[in-house]
Amino acid sequence: MPDRTPPCAPRLGIARSPSTARFLERHPDAVDYVEVPFELLRHDATAVEVMRAKPVVLHCASLSLAGTVPADAGTVREIREWADRTRTPWLGEHLSFITAEREPGWGSADAYAPGEPWNIGYTVSPALNQENVDRVVGSLERAQAEFEIPLLVENPPVYFRMPGSTMSQVDFIAEVCARSGVQLLLDLAHFYITARTAGFDPFTELLRLPLERVVEVHVSGVTTEQDTFWDNHSGRAPQEELDLLAVVLARTRVDAVTLEYNWSSRLPEQVLLQEIGRVRDVLDEAHAA
């Protein structure tokens, strides 16, 4: 897996999908590693068989770092076991919350899990404010103590303004990084979506991020519906993302770039190859410069 010895070019990987095994059989040299989500391994341990073909980078959406309800000890233990088993070089986790407290006295009609916290089953960007910076820094300190590998935090997509937000996402991330020392997994699709939602110029704001902390980059598709940009792991990345990638690579050395095209088993192989080619061109150009 990626080491940090210069002048190594970033490794290129793909997120695991049902068609990954067949893709790797046919194109063994197309990528260097495969990203596998912990949540998939938890329910289908056979997904780890991709390790026979390529090294694995473990990804996670279960720690709820920005939430008020931490992941339970059993979940943390399982993540640690999978981290050991996959020999992942780091653990990428969303700077989001996935669970939330049920306020007493809210009169919830939901009787299926009385007393249990809400489990959204999907990551949600938190309110961007000082209180949550403090919360995330604390969560990171506790979470990092559980793992021997570094944690990376991934910028989430913002689809609506969270009540209580008082700062931009870039300021939020920068402060979390400065106070915790955590490194970054920069998802360029999420960053682009957030820029569109919040109305900022992604190229200007990108330069305010602590780019020197970026270890891994995600590239994937974006779709528009109802005048909003949405995450889409089954379509091509817009050119803006690749231009943003070039900006990142011109300013820092990242270890890995992962193409997340894992939402459709019907994504034509040719499209995936073309997307890999587009990203590899940017990597080669940056490495040559």
Partner: protein
Amino acid sequence: MNADAVNGLIARCLLEPGYLDRLRDGFEVELDLLQVDDATRAELTALDLAQVRRFGGLISKVQHNDTWERFPLTRALLKCYGMELEVFAAYRNRHLDLLRGARPTRDAKTLSFLSFLADHLDGIDPAACPGLVDVLVHERWTWEVGRELAEPDRRQVVESARERVVPRDALRVAALRYHPFDIASALRDDSSAVADLAPRPTYLGYWGRRRADDVAVLELDAVTASVLACVDGVRSAAEVVTAAHVLLPEVGREDLAAALHQAVARDVVAVVEPVGSK
């Protein structure tokens, strides 16, 4: 600000059927029940509920990624007409109900979503989404017939004291305004041209053939389609002809009977004699 209250409210909007609707219809009343401080209340008032609802749709859409391969044309048209999130936002409550029990299987998710979509499209002007109902029916019958083939126990022949016409293996019939094959071609060539596609009414039969272990899609004439559509496993041959005559009153009973006879000869359907008749 109370972060617990904010996160809890967002989670509840995304997880509890009807809560988002109640907030939309009576935000002030619902906020009174929350007992939050003035600052939190002011922040919550500014929440974009429509966008939260769409985000719920995105979550449900992503959680159906493993089902798309069963109805690729339907998905492509939903996407083409910019309806994906709206449809999944509307489906969200039913999806959450499905999640209340054990982890739903792919089949359960597929069946639940396709049934919902058929009902949902009933309330939408077809001109807003040409061909969508047609590809939905086409892909749903193809999938259901294939599923019946894979589960032979579902098709046990029940003995009866009366003659009945039963489908041989598995069978569905559809009367479509747009031909699914035309839509598939248009999507392959230029998805933006789909909305301008000309209707081409057609009748299709979906015949699951156990011996061949496949689902054959048959182009049918109106008479054969009407007759096969009336084969429900309960009606007798005469009753099938009578029912088909209601659908196609301009066609004589003799012609309808001939179409049924031909379907029997082709082994698409069979006439089951009553118990004890031999």
